[in-house]
């Protein structure tokens, strides 16, 4: 069974890195969205198992994107990509329904382990 991973980030480099890292790993298909709007639309269509969303994006923020995702009934594991791990951000994000954090710069092994763990749940 192929499950989908959705990456929402305005930086195409980050999206490509994550997509390339997860390519063909553990039966996940990776989809990309460049902002919150596009991400929510894609999530509604794909019902992804994992959503990686950037904290800081033009347009709807990462936290708001997550909040709307949860409001729409998504049960995906949501991973927030952050530039730094500050506790205010974390509290805010957790309240919005974020499950895990991935701090930039992240390593490919972190990405693989994270998604692998989710895949086994």
């Amino acid at each position: 069974m192929t499950r989908s991973v959705l990456v929402i980030d305005d930086d195409p480099l980050i999206r490509r890195l994550i997509a390339a890292t997860l390519q063909d790993v553990g039966g996940f298909a990776v989809h990309e969205a460049e902002d919150g709007e596009a991400g929510l639309a894609a999530a509604a269509e794909l019902t992804p198992a994992v959503v990686l969303v950037d904290f800081e994006m033009p347009g709807i923020s990462g936290v708001e994107t997550c909040r709307r995702l949860r409001a729409a009934g998504s049960t995906a594991t949501v991973v927030m990509l952050t530039g730094s791990a500050d506790s205010d951000t974390e509290v805010q994000a957790r309240a919005a329904g974020v499950d895990r954090f991935l701090t930039k710069p992240f390593s490919p092994l972190e990405v693989l382990r994270l998604v692998d763990r989710v895949g086994r749940q």
């Binding site: 930086d11 480099l13 980050i14 890195l17 930039k104 710069p105 390593s107 490919p108 092994l109």
Partner: protein
Amino acid sequence: MTESVDDLRAELERREHELARREAQLERYAADLREVFQQERQRSEELHKSYTATVRALANAVEARDAYTGKHAERVAAYGLAIARAAGIDIAGSPEIEFGFLLHDVGKVAIPDAILFKTAPLTDAEYALVQRHPVVGAEILRDVHFLGAAKVVVRHHHERFDGTGYPDGLSGDDIPLAARVFSVADALDALTTERPYRPACGFRAAREEIRQATGTQFCPSAVAAFEDIDDDRFEAIREEVG
């Protein structure tokens, strides 16, 4: 005007910041790649060590029956590696050659004690059985994939350059190079080790005997590689093996 310069400056700073972040991200990926590579290299070294230990254990088990040859396999392997290098064989590229040297006589497990230790001349039937040991050895190792080219050494280590050897009667370059090299090393150790039926001779005398058999028993290019290594070096290798 001032405002637009400030704007440009701010934009430039933003882009520089962006670029720095991307660079940091790519460097993180590269660092992981290096780490994975190092781990892989370390694991492969460990794997090679454990292969070598396994092969040595097996070679020692074969030799344990045959008390007088004591460490023959290890000495021959060490001589063989030195000659193989001199012959231009890429040992790092095919490390299994050493395994073949160590295991060359593994097929002797199929020879009964009564024949292996017989001091009287062998009957034709007994001699035929002895001559099967390279085939038996290659059969024993057939499904051990990591041994690769080693199996060729095991099968062909008693071939002679003139085609009168066994088991396949191969001649010249039809005999794999590693096996041609090995037979020189094997003879060197046999000649310089004491046997129940004759005393050991020195490296210098052994070299002379090997020279005499060049082109008949031994491959000229294997002997040429052997000649590149002096007696002191072989002496040192023997000391090292102990």
